[in-house]
Subunit: 144 residues, 2 copies
């Protein structure tokens, strides 16, 4: 459904959110360890998220990544996916056709439309506050 990069990006964002809630910055090293991702690759992804203003970064000692506390609830899953995977999940045809539309539909167009819509709805209606709650109370996990 998502690229590996996007999966790491979402996991990292949720972790950073959970720490930012406690006013704590997270270093690359810590993030990679906590979400079980390759460190250098994760660095690239965090750069991308940072460039897209989804997270912010601070260099130097006690630096790291964070999300402004009052903004955590404003970050929707859709923004992260869009920043990393682009809009293919929004507009792509289920069978890979370039010109698939209501007027010129592929054979599974209508079946897929319903699914795509529920994916979009989910991505648009889920934010980092709710996703990081479960982490804090230990009911959800980001590793393995």
């Amino acid at each position: 459904m998502f690229s590996k990069a996007c999966e790491y990006g979402i996991r990292a964002s949720i972790y950073i959110a959970s720490q930012s809630h406690k006013e704590k910055r997270s270093s690359l090293k810590t993030i990679a360890k906590q979400i079980g991702s390759p460190e250098a690759f994760t660095a690239k992804i965090l750069q991308q998220l940072s460039k897209n203003n989804i997270i912010s970064s601070v260099k130097g000692p006690n630096g790291g990544f964070e999300i402004e506390k009052k903004l955590i609830g404003k970050v929707k899953l859709s923004q992260i996916v869009l920043a990393i995977d682009g809009d293919s999940i929004y507009k792509g045809c289920g069978l890979g056709l370039k010109e698939c539309s209501e007027k010129v539909p592929c054979p599974v167009h209508h079946q897929f439309k319903a699914i795509r819509n529920s994916i979009i709805h989910m991505l648009e209606s889920t934010n980092l506050t709710e996703l990081s709650l479960g982490l804090k109370d230990g009911s959800t996990f980001l590793k393995l």
Copy 2:
């Protein structure tokens, strides 16, 4: 959502179904042309579908690929996807975790469960007869 190979596989199957309905075999060359896919790559995919008994093949002059007429309606999308992409869409975690389950869920586990279920339902309830109907009456398309 699906790999390119799987997209070609579904498109090819739908085309073959539409021809088999008219008792016509389809050659690799024709299939590739009709669904707009690379010929040699399509050959590999058809081999896979053939090995999985989703389509059958006949060598030699007037040979080609076909689906026994009375079996067309028995072939579900899920079988094609399973043969080519495996069961990742059935059991994979949305965030790529290996040990994601009801008991040890990732933060988006519940949101994804609903989506996964609707995908599975769609794949299980759609067969090649319905998908090839639209092709015949010109209301759906497999190319571009």
